[in-house]
């Protein structure tokens, strides 16, 4: 069914001269006129029960710095504990370089199977702290 739709839809219209696309999820509006705004950042559930505490903020900070450096991100790119490397555009080569950078920074060695499973900043930080604890 071909539909002609007017330009007045609640998605940002971009002129064709611009090549950037702005994707925004439309905010849902309930029938009663109340605006429901959805938090677009989904909390990523941890897949394993962690008996130890979550990683220290300093470790998270250092990991974020190394990730930003490897991926050539700007200083003001937001990278937090839950950030997935893939969301930042890291490919497998980037991930391996990030692991190398973390090994150098923290003077540890990550076993390949464990390093491969790292998908977020928090997971990297937790593994680092685990390895540092074993060292001492």
């Amino acid at each position: 069914m071909a539909t002609q739709f007017s330009a007045s839809v609640s998605m940002q219209t971009t002129s064709l001269a611009m090549t950037r696309i702005s994707f925004q999820k439309p905010a849902l509006i309930s029938n009663h006129g109340r605006t429901l705004s959805f938090n677009l950042r989904r909390s990523i559930p941890t897949r394993r029960l962690s008996v130890s505490c979550a990683a220290k903020p300093e470790t998270i900070e250092k990991v974020s710095e190394i990730v930003k450096k490897q991926l050539s991100l700007s200083k003001d790119q937001k990278v937090v504990a839950g950030t997935k490397f893939a969301e930042l555009g890291a490919d497998s080569l980037d991930t391996v370089e990030i692991v190398m950078g973390l090994e150098e920074e923290f003077n540890i060695q990550m076993a390949e199977e464990k390093a491969q499973k790292i998908a977020t900043v928090e997971q990297a930080a937790e593994l680092i702290e685990e390895l540092m604890k074993e060292k001492n």
Partner: protein, 300 residues
């Protein structure tokens, strides 16, 4: 009617139908690629977005930055539209394709919707960089592909990287290259070949750690590669030695794409092929718009 449905409906414009394709023959790989810089039309991109499943749309939106969102969108679009075209007589609606992951996480087509049709046993694999998105397609045999920008700078010392992750024979090969730039390029070519193999295997990185296998050029051939797996052998109770065993089960091809990228392809070898080099058909595409057959291909 729920407002979200209204919004989705208001976007369903008619897309032109997809031009159907002939299946690859046995031992042949079809390699498709998109250059994001060539896809500028915002209305076309919005149409692509409507082809994706809800989880795919979520994943696109999760990417940090417009360029990353666009490339994620193009990657899913390339997969859906390409596979949809390889159906008998006419292309299926790319929106109806379903995907699943094998038990190690490798994506594959889920043909459950098409129980009554003669589905070709299509295999596919994708890879992308900032500036190129590629999809390899085969029938009957698993395929893995990897693409890398030729100019990609490695932030670490190349030999240190190789010593940490590659096999001893590969480190030896790289360390004999005197020119740093040539060494970097060979490192990247090796990376793509190794990645392509692991992806073709489809069992995840830990099934084939990079330092447990060696890929090397076949002497006396243009573009042939050997895969050798290192295994430990006990010579006696005191000595262990590492032996490199040649593995005939996989075929490789390495080529230059768009003058800017290395692309490696790995497929499971059909023993009947008699060691013949892999046949690759390369096409550049913009889904729904145009295909361009690349007839001159530089195999490395």
């Amino acid at each position: 009617m729920h407002v979200m449905t209204q919004m989705q409906q208001s976007f369903s414009m008619e897309l032109p139908s997809l031009v159907p394709l002939q299946l690859p023959s046995r031992m042949e790989t079809h390699l498709w690629y998109v250059l994001p810089n060539e896809v500028k039309s915002t209305s076309l991109l919005k149409q692509f977005y409507q082809l994706l499943s809800p989880p795919e749309k979520d994943k696109v939106l999760q990417m940090r930055g417009d360029d990353l969102k666009k490339n994620a969108l193009l990657a899913r679009t390339l997969v859906r539209t390409t596979i949809a075209r390889y159906q008998k007589n006419h292309a299926v609606d790319p929106r109806t394709l379903m995907f699943k992951k094998n038990m190690y996480g490798k994506p594959e087509v889920d043909w459950q919707n098409y129980k009554n049709c003669n589905n070709p046993p299509l295999h596919f694999n994708i890879s992308h960089t900032d500036s190129l998105i590629a999809c390899g397609v085969t029938v009957h045999v698993p395929v893995g592909i990897d693409v890398e920008d030729k100019e990609r700078k490695i932030k670490h010392d190349v030999l240190a990287f190789a010593e940490r992750f590659y096999s001893p024979d590969e480190v030896k090969f790289l360390s004999t290259i005197p020119d740093a730039e040539v060494q970097r390029k060979e490192f990247i070519k090796l990376w793509t070949l190794k990645e392509a193999y692991v992806k073709a295997l489809g069992k995840g990185f830990s099934a084939a750690p990079f330092n447990t296998f060696t890929i090397q050029s076949k002497a006396g051939t243009q573009g042939g590669y050997n895969l050798c797996k290192t295994s430990e052998m006990s010579v006696n109770s005191l000595e262990k030695t590492k032996k490199c065993l040649c593995n005939e089960e996989w075929k490789f091809a390495l080529l230059e794409l768009a003058d800017s990228h290395y692309a490696a392809i790995c497929i499971e070898d059909d023993q009947d092929s008699g060691g013949a080099p892999m046949k690759v058909i390369v096409r550049k595409t913009i889904p729904f718009v145009e295909d361009e057959l690349i007839s001159e291909n530089k195999f490395l």
